[in-house]
Subunit: 332 residues, 2 copies
């Protein structure tokens, strides 16, 4: 295992110390794993809190700031933060209009965020929970935990954050968050697995001539292994899986995320962006907005995920609203 770290035990707190140094506009409690806007949410506006295990940077702390999250909670690598920390962050984030919890669909996260919400409610903070489940590699509605939460989390955080910033009440902010999730689907591929600092060896082995399709963002193996594909073939396979699950896409504009999993060079992500454009246009799908880069990573995994959100005028307007966070920022 080769990593630029000090020790497996300190990696999350060390990275949060780096966040604090790089971003004085954030208030970071590195030992606890809590990142807040230095000024908090504007008084009387809905606060947004997200979080989960670390290893997916810049998700979530990199999206704390005006127009997006109020607070993020970072657990150990690939491990949910404990309820006590989520409850404390919820109370600190609340500006009097309640807190939206944006939770990726994993058993541990759902359990801990649900317990934390109950404790926060006991302390007088109103909480709504929205679950993100966009990964089509895992089937929904078959009795299991259902689709995993991956790239659509960024879309939910951005769009719900814009509505919260406008002063909308908690129920409306939660409703738009659910709308974004329902209209979003993702799929991921890997050229390598990832290595957690604590384990020190890859979660699964992949040969030099192989690609794994349908992987998760915690080193979960995929649903299919194939001989290495070209970027064109990879984009075709990924979008076939996504569009099968998001059939009403043709004609609607989409918001697109071409996401690196941690060790995919920018030049390769842009090659994928070109092939995604080609395949989508062959399917009659127009890309209205897109992002290309490392947004929801899986430690040192090589590969990428694609996320599509079927947009409408409301979602595009909220997407375009100003945002000012470490890893996503634009003005009007």
């Amino acid at each position: 295992m080769k990593k630029l770290i000090n020790s497996p035990e300190s990696v999350v707190a060390d990275a949060l110390r780096g966040m604090a140094a790089a971003h004085p506009e954030l208030r970071v409690d590195a030992p606890a794993g809590i990142v807040l806007r230095a000024g908090g949410a504007p008084a009387g506006k809905v606060a947004l809190l997200s979080g989960g295990g670390s290893g997916h940077e810049p998700l979530h702390a990199g999206f704390v700031g005006p127009g997006m999250l109020t607070a993020a909670v970072a657990g150990p690598v690939f491990t949910s933060p404990v309820p006590e920390v989520i409850t404390r962050a919820t109370a600190e984030a609340d500006a009097g209009a309640g807190v939206l919890h944006i939770v990726k669909n994993y058993t541990g996260d759902i359990l801990n965020f649900t317990m934390a919400a109950e404790d926060a409610e006991d302390e007088g903070v109103t909480v709504e929970q929205v679950v993100v489940d966009d990964d089509v590699a895992v089937a929904a509605g078959q009795g299991g935990p259902g689709r995993r939460g991956t790239g659509a989390t960024l879309f939910v955080e951005k769009i719900a954050g814009a509505l919260a910033e406008s002063g909308a009440p908690l129920a409306e902010v939660a409703a738009v968050a659910r709308k974004v999730n329902e209209r979003s689907r993702s799929y991921g591929v890997a050229l390598t697995s990832c290595t957690t600092p604590a384990k020190g060896s890859p979660n699964f082995e992949l040969g030099e001539g192989e690609i794994e399709l349908g992987i998760g963002i915690h080193g979960e193996p995929g649903r299919e292994r194939r001989p290495l594909l070209s970027a064109a073939q990879t984009a075709e396979a990924m979008l076939a899986a996504i569009l099968e699950d998001l059939p009403q896409c043709a004609g609607d504009p989409v918001i697109l995320l071409v996401n690196g999993l941690g060790t995919t060079p920018p030049i390769e992500l842009y090659v994928m962006r070109a092939e995604v454009e080609r395949v989508l246009s062959e399917h009659g799908v127009t890309v209205a907005r897109s992002l290309v880069g490392n947004y929801v990573t899986s430690l040192d995994m090589a590969g990428c995920t694609l996320t599509l959100c079927r947009a409408d005028a409301e979602l595009l307007e909220l997407w375009d609203a100003p945002v000012e966070t470490p890893s996503l920022r634009w003005g009007r």
Copy 2:
């Protein structure tokens, strides 16, 4: 070699097609390797052009936009663009006030940009050339080509771009570009080498327990190989090399770049950011501004570079000026 590409021959043009799809605010000639602001430079203002071999994305095309570059020229991987293309891009970028060429200090780039400048002058375009040479791993002034150009290129492009946007004449824009370069130094380390698509195997081999110090951004081996270091030790070694060459740093605020070389996960770059903060503060150096991320990459190399620029009030004001490019953007 595992890469998300179509073929070694098409990788640069494919990535530029992706840039075009992702950024409609750019005018991209993918086969030629030219990227321009769709609207060109504002009439009567100095234009900035940079470029060089590909494989360093987002440098340079990712920095084309208001407040930074007017145009970028992308050669083949790690190979300078030919003079004809640079000349054409120079003529297209010119808005009547001349063009600043920002050139990294490599023999091929200097040769081709110098020839292109002469040809552009013959066509009636005024050109000034600024050479960036910030990498302290290669000694300056010993008869060789001198220090290599690396991370400081981004600082030069941002700060000179801001001055050009304000309407300053070419001589002043060139002067501030040289000032930034003179006040900037970089140093890089690698945990792995990089693999060019055409060659298909790493440029040098590095053992599982080794780190290479003083590497270049084209797979050039370093000046020292050591047993793997902690992030703390790595930051200490890198900053010792930089501060030795930039001695007047104490007391001055610096602009800092913690740059990933292509396959370094964000969590590791933030760990490095924390250690850099600690070491600099022990040396009495204050970080006034910083960036953390993949800005000047070396294909799929794992590792990072650090760049420090001794700032003053003028440079900080120009740094803070609005910028709106694919990979660097902020408002007032």
